[in-house]
Homo-oligomer: 266 residues x 2
Amino acid sequence: MNGPAHAEIERFHGAAMELADEARRIVVAAVAAGYQIRTKADASVVTEVDQAVERRLRELIARWFPDHGVVGEEYAPTRPDSAFQWILDPIDGTEEFVHGVPTFGTMLALQHHGAALVGVIDHPALDVRVNAAAGHGAYRNGSRIRLADAPADLRPEAVRLVLSARLNFTRQVDEGHLFEALTRTYPNHRIYRAAYAHTAVVSGAADVMVDMHNHVWDLAPARILVEEAGGRYAVVRDFPASDGDRLISAVFGRPAVVDRVLALFG
Amino acid sequence: MNGPAHAEIERFHGAAMELADEARRIVVAAVAAGYQIRTKADASVVTEVDQAVERRLRELIARWFPDHGVVGEEYAPTRPDSAFQWILDPIDGTEEFVHGVPTFGTMLALQHHGAALVGVIDHPALDVRVNAAAGHGAYRNGSRIRLADAPADLRPEAVRLVLSARLNFTRQVDEGHLFEALTRTYPNHRIYRAAYAHTAVVSGAADVMVDMHNHVWDLAPARILVEEAGGRYAVVRDFPASDGDRLISAVFGRPAVVDRVLALFG
C-alpha cells in the first residue's frame, strides 16, 4: 500500500514532538508537586503521572487527528480499525521514576498499517530526546544520528550489549537460557528498562539491544529510530500474551553486531 | 586503635566535598571542550579527563594533607605507609562517559588504618552526589538518607537487585555461577557500573548491590556511605589480583535483603 506523503509525515513528526513536550511538562510539574503511587494487579507500580500523561496525550491526539486510533499502556484502545495508530507508553521505567532514577522516559510512535512513521523517546530528567520519522532521519536533541557499523571481528568482550532483565526472558514463555547465552557470550553488558536502553542503542552509546517479551508500546518507537539512524532491527519473537495482548522480542543496533547476536537465537 | 576526633572527621569530609567539586569542574569543562581517548593495556578506555582529575586531586591532597597517602586508578600510590589513605577513582564508568551515558561518576574515600572515614560519589552529568562521614550520616544532594529496611518476606521478583556485569564475575577467578544464581533468584535486576549502582543503593533507589571482583577504588566509598545510611555492607571475597593489586567483592544495601543475598554465596 502507499504510505503518507513526505510532508504529511513531517506534520505527524511535529505533532509527536509536541506530544513529547506536553508529556515532559506534566512529568516535571508532577515531580515538583508530588504524586500518588499504587500497585497494579500484576504487582507492577503505576502513578497518577503515568495516567495523567496518557490521558492528556489521548486528548490532544483526538483533537488533532480525530480519525486516528490510540493504543496505550494505561487505558483501553480507541478506534482499533483506523489505519493510523498512536502507540503510547506515558512513563516507561515507572519503577525508576518513583525512585528518582533518571533513566525513565516517555515512548510514543505513530504506525500506519502497522509500520512506524514516527518514533520518539523522551527523558525529562536527563533532558535527552531521540526522535525519527520515515525518510527524515533520526535525531538526538536535534543532532542527526548516523550510526557507524561495528567491525565484524569486534572481540565479544568489547561488544556493548544492553538487554532486558531476566524477568522478561521468562515472561509467558521461559527463555531464560537465552539470557544465560547472551550474558556469557557478551559479558560486558548493561541492563536498563526499555526507554533508556533503546535511547542508548539508537544514539550509539551501546552496540545492540535485546528486548525480550515486551509489549507493543515498549517497542513501537525502536524500529523507526534504529532504521533511520542506519541500524538494523529484527523481530525474533511475537506471540499472544495471556492478557489478550502480544509480547514482542527484538534485537537491534549496529548491523554487524545485530547479525552476530541473532545467531544465538537459532 | 583510636580514630580521629569528630571535628577532624568533619574537616576531612569538607575537604572531600571540595575535591569532588573540583573534579566536577574539570569534567564539565572537558565535556564542553572535547578530550582525547585512548585504550589501556587491558583494553579498557581511559581519557585525558580521568588523568587530569586524578592529577589535580593528588595535587590538592598533597597541599592540604602532606602526610596522607593516595591510591588512585591512574597513577602509582604515594606514601603507602601513612595511616591516612585517600582512594580515588577519577571517573568510574569511563565507557559511559565517552559515550554520553550520564551515570559515570567520581568516587573518593579517605581511609584511616583501612577503615573509611569519608566517602563521596559525584555524578556531574546528573547533578547528583552522595556523601557520608563516620558518625555524621549519609546525604544525597544535602538531604539526610535514612534507609528503611525491606520486609524480610519481600517476593524475590520484587527485590531490586543491582549487580556487576558478568565480565566482573569471571575476572581472575571464574564465579560466573554466582551471576547465574543471582539473576535467576532475583530476576528484576539492573546492571550499571559501580558509581551509579552504588549511588542507587545508598539512596534507596535499589535494594541491594552485588559488586564482584572489583578494585579498591571502586569499592572504597561504598561501606561508609551504606553504613551511615543505615544499611549493611559485607565483603564476600578479597583476593590478590595478577597485577599485584587486590580484587574485592561486596554485597550491600538494605539489611534484610543483604542477608538473603549473602545466603547465595554459601
